[in-house]
Symmetry: D3
Subunit: 159 residues, 6 copies
């Protein structure tokens, strides 16, 4: 059975040593979904038709947060992101918005955490902007969808 890579033999937290890993092109895609009341979704959609502010603020928040990932996640390596995209898909039948982030780098470690941080902070921003009208919004299905590059090869999550 594999061991936790961030815990050493004495059970102490450690940052994985990536010094010997080659610097290669890496990419990750993550998603989150935020569930809300139909009226809340309607307010966001109407604003989007006009100017799209809620989702645009959430997009910027997600992009900026992905650049802060190694400040937030204690054992995460700092790396230089070469690309972040945050996109929204409105799901009227589920009264939900799906958020996807795609992050790229040329580096020694993957960018899963950067993609997951982007979708999560983006979803929290939607919550913040709408919380006065809907406190019961729920963030769900936060997960890694795709990962490419590095020794472990390609990963695509079946949905």
């Amino acid at each position: 059975m594999k061991n936790l890579t961030h815990i050493d033999e004495q059970g102490r937290a450690k940052m994985v040593d990536v010094s010997e890993k080659p610097s290669t092109a890496r990419e990750a895609v993550a998603m989150a979904k935020i569930l809300m009341k139909p009226e809340t979704l309607q307010l966001i959609i109407e604003n989007r038709i006009a100017k799209g502010e809620v989702l645009q603020v959430a997009r910027i928040a997600g992009i900026m947060a992905s650049k802060k990932t190694s400040e937030l996640i204690p054992l995460c390596h700092p790396l230089s992101i070469t690309k972040v995209d945050v996109d929204f898909n409105i799901l009227p039948q589920e009264n939900a918005i799906e958020i996807q982030a795609r992050v790229k780098t040329i580096g020694q470690t993957g960018v899963e955490m950067e993609a997951l941080t982007a979708v999560t902070v983006s979803a929290l921003t939607v919550y913040d902007m709408c919380k006065a009208v809907d406190r019961e919004m729920t963030i769900t299905e936060v997960m890694l969808l795709e990962k490419r590059g590095g020794k472990s090869g390609e990963f695509v999550r079946k949905r």
Copy 2:
């Protein structure tokens, strides 16, 4: 129908003006759940019995992130947290860990976002530390459970 408080009449994003609000005691409780494979949960538990590192790192990450909330969420007011607690509840039957954060302040705005940020970054940290053994962990049920203080009064979410 209520309007989005963070969008003005022209549809522009704005920070709500809290200058006139009194400074009062406020509290919020939020949760997140992280689902994983039974083997992953087992690895975390065994480490916890020994030294508890995974959850302890995740706790520190959540506490520190809650202090960064206004840096992450664009229209969130900075405030001085007086207390943050992050706790874990292992749910073996669901192959999940539930994370709860309780945040307090004396201030002009609530601390929902601080509590939600704490649980979310705590969950992302669990993901980061275990991702080498389980890429398909999923964060779910991120939501506000309780809120006290301020004009809007007490809120307790039914579960």
Copy 3:
């Protein structure tokens, strides 16, 4: 002749001691102008009519930067902003965009630096987003327009 408040008698930099100052309502308004080629302004306007992204990203950048003021300006006191507004006025005859920021707090020091930081970073963001089409954009007229609250009373700059 008045002395520089941030330099002590030995010529050393110091943070002004505001411990004894009462906590009062304070407000500041600052502006910046960004000059560009007519074609650049046209591109921004067209995008604004559609979705307004350039100016919306610049607005968010300005709001978030104002919260970081005390991290950027070495001798600036940290304070809790209660309100930030960033607004744009397109000046087609000058091929320019004027940016204004209004910041409020309840605190022991003024928020001039927060307002000036907001307009400056907002203008830099416009530059960043348009620099591929116009490297010669120039930021100018960065100044304090209004200041209220605190011992020094009201200040309104004549324009």
Copy 4:
């Protein structure tokens, strides 16, 4: 007509993908000017002769800010600066101080924004340290002077 590189076809803000760009030596020079009352300039000069604090604090502020550029400018790529210089030129006839910053990196994107951020925050720091004696200082002529490296080749602004 060229399009805005930070806006995609749907008008959404995006970070430019630099993954495929080679890592090359890059350099940028930017300037800002800060206008003030003759007495204010005199105070700064006298302090400079003694110990130079105002401009030295402003220099440090500019250098440190350039390292924070990608935190401030939403769609800016993080990169590792290899050199930052901030310099001052006192212009007694204009009652002004000119600030220049030169920034270098080995990377996939240019350092214009880092140089512009350095001069801007440096100028704001001068404002902060002198604002008690001169609220009407104005920052002006913030612009890129030179840029080298990368696909677009050399740029030198005519003054």
Copy 5:
């Protein structure tokens, strides 16, 4: 015997709850000493006589770091500093520089950590600026000298 205030009954790290504590004037003084070769001290002194850069950069670094204390120390409460002073005392007979920081706030918790962070980062900055000529500099005697305000009353360390 007293217990560790940052560890709860189950041995978990926690942030102390200061919600009920009154907001009062608080002050702390801390020191650090940095030992070096006589030649290194000489270089710093000569530069100080001319322009004082090493110690001035170290002073700014200490002041700015004290504002970041709650970002660095995991269980430290954020608070709004009202004053920070960093000062240097050259001790030629010990080939050392003594650094003292005095920090004030009006708040619910003390500012010991802010004063200790200021002297420590100030000392590290001296190290950084001189390390090319003296790798064996040693930082020592980092300690709290004075503390005032709050329930625990006055503390003055005997030296």
Copy 6:
């Protein structure tokens, strides 16, 4: 006699230009010691036997701080750490804890400051968590122990 590398010929602070330096594997080891009352050490040990929280929080704090080094030390180059380890050695006879940090990177500059920042912030965190029971803890012997890689070759401090 060698000159201070961070001060130019006019005595101005500057960031060393590392643009021309090759990117190589680099490593540094630093230490700090924290002296305390025997009872305080006992409290930490007992908690460590149970769960080790004090030292574990201090370890995480040290790791996270090393990633922030270039934000704290004004003239320090940002670089991408590939590994940080923070370890503790309890010295009962000295009533002290020794902290060691080992940092690695592949880059153009060394990681001494990252290792020194890690041990220092780790020691400050121990102070913070135990200060309610022992205000007179002292941090001492903060120094570089080893350095490898780069033009200056290997350095090992004799102890």
